[in-house]
Amino acid sequence: MKETIVSVQLPVQEALEIERNRLTPPVGQDGGKRICIVTGIHGDELEGQYLAYRLNRVLQAHPEHLHGTVDIYPAINPLGINSITRGVPLFDLDMNRVFPGSENSSMVEHIAHEVVEDIRGADICIDIHASNIFLTELPQVRINEMFETELVPLAKELNIDFIWVHAAATVLESTLAHSLNSIGTKCLVVEMGVGMRLTRAYGDQLLEGILNLMKTQGMWSGDTQPVREPIIGRNEVAFLNAEGAGIFISEVSHNCMVEQGQTLGVIADPLTGQDVQVVTAPEKGLLFTLRDYPVVYPGSLLGRILTGGFEK
């Protein structure tokens, strides 16, 4: 059932509406659990749109296998998606830095408050992101170490390649995931693919994972595929930042093992034909993030290498 959970009047003839599609099991089949699938907080991250579409189709085609409530929120930032804007147009802050919001502050903080209140009490929430337009990411779940114990067992069921347990940071306390986890609603953050594009293979992979997770929670009784065992990484991540300005030309593919010292690409100067920097791997490991957008400044992130955790 399609419902509007927040509606805010815009100045001229229009309302900003956040919509939710609630899928419920047939009468007598409800185990009482609820899972929320949330995406589109950043307007330039579209991978979750494909997942939302596919999940809707599968669940609606087989209501006989559904044993819990599934709430799908495809667009928490509809104005951003509509206008190809990462943030909320005319608002300075990243929307994922204003949660849990407040009832009476700015419009965006009001929306954030209403979103949290709507999800509050769900058994699980999955917040799907897609990196940004600059980077391609291997399907992964990112977990704040504060919530590692509760969340890692759930993340393992999601058919993703990698679980990144990262250190806590004060600024991240204002994300949707942190806000929900802080009030006892378990929230997993998925990062996969690249901004402004759909990567169907990743969407299909995560779909299998969500169905599998639902099955382990007694919410789905349809067929599922065996899920892959993710690598769990903590601080074993090497960051690869540009040291020069120019065009990054990659010589490797995303999602491959690289050796220490291996050439990964060059930063080139199109004006002179010179290589500004030959980019090499600082350590051996899995290249799970790779730059997709070629123009770089010094400091631009070119990739991330997972340097440990494979033996598990």
Partner: protein
Amino acid sequence: MRQETLYTLDTPYRQKLAVEGFRFGRGKKCCAIVGAIRGNEVQQMYTCSLLVRELKRLEQQGAINTNHEILVIPCVNHFSMNVGSRFWAMDQTDINRMFPGYDKGETTQRIAEAVFSAVQGYDYGIQFTSFYVQGEFVPHVRIMHTGYENASLANLFGLPYVLLRNPKPFDTTTLNYNWQIWNTNAFSIYSHESDDISTPQAELSVSAVLRFLSRVGALHYTCHNGYMSAILQEENLASVHTTCGGIFHRLKVAGENVRYGEVIGEILDPLTAEVKEQLIAPTSGTLFFAAKNPLITQHAEAYRIIRRMYS
């Protein structure tokens, strides 16, 4: 006055980004002053430029006391200013949400780190900045509650108001917050404008900074005493929110006094000009903040009022 390039960054297809600083006096690091970090903070850059001009004159007159060094950085981010972008044009990140920065990190983290290195270790830090909600403020000094703040020092600017803000998580990466954490007494100065230039407002801010520097012993500077500042807690200000969207017909501006029950604004239907809502003052007092955009959404904060007990 010594002009110094504090940081340079190679960039694709454009000249290097060079952050320029101006030093006055010598010896102990007394005060660092930072202007535009965002690309639309034109008023903040302009204010700093006037301050540079005035400090240069004062230094030539021998008015800067010995063993006091003052550093002014009028503009950190002319790269965004020159292309009309408030944030870093490549990725829309905000340098003032990147402090204390990281010299091995992403581009704007590196810029923040370089600026922070340059302005660290001073007794006092002053930033001319702008707020994340668009609108105009009554001129004030803003400090964050970090446990290290010293509100009485902020009185030395002689501006009418000092505002204390409880930081939210997103505030913890601003220059002001990090200055305080690293033992610099930090103050943010807000004036009416950002995108446009107001010379009277800029001169008011310059006077306030010179008054402050004089009172902490850095300058010989003769000026009037300014105001006895009222210290405000942000959460004690009365907010006026809209209950509908439309054209914002502003009847009062920041700094004006209002009475309880007075109509201080209207929301008009954008197609028929009918009044959809009257915005009523919930208390008597002085307008601290007034939204400025002619269009306004529902649930927006149109005004903030300093209750009469403060004014």
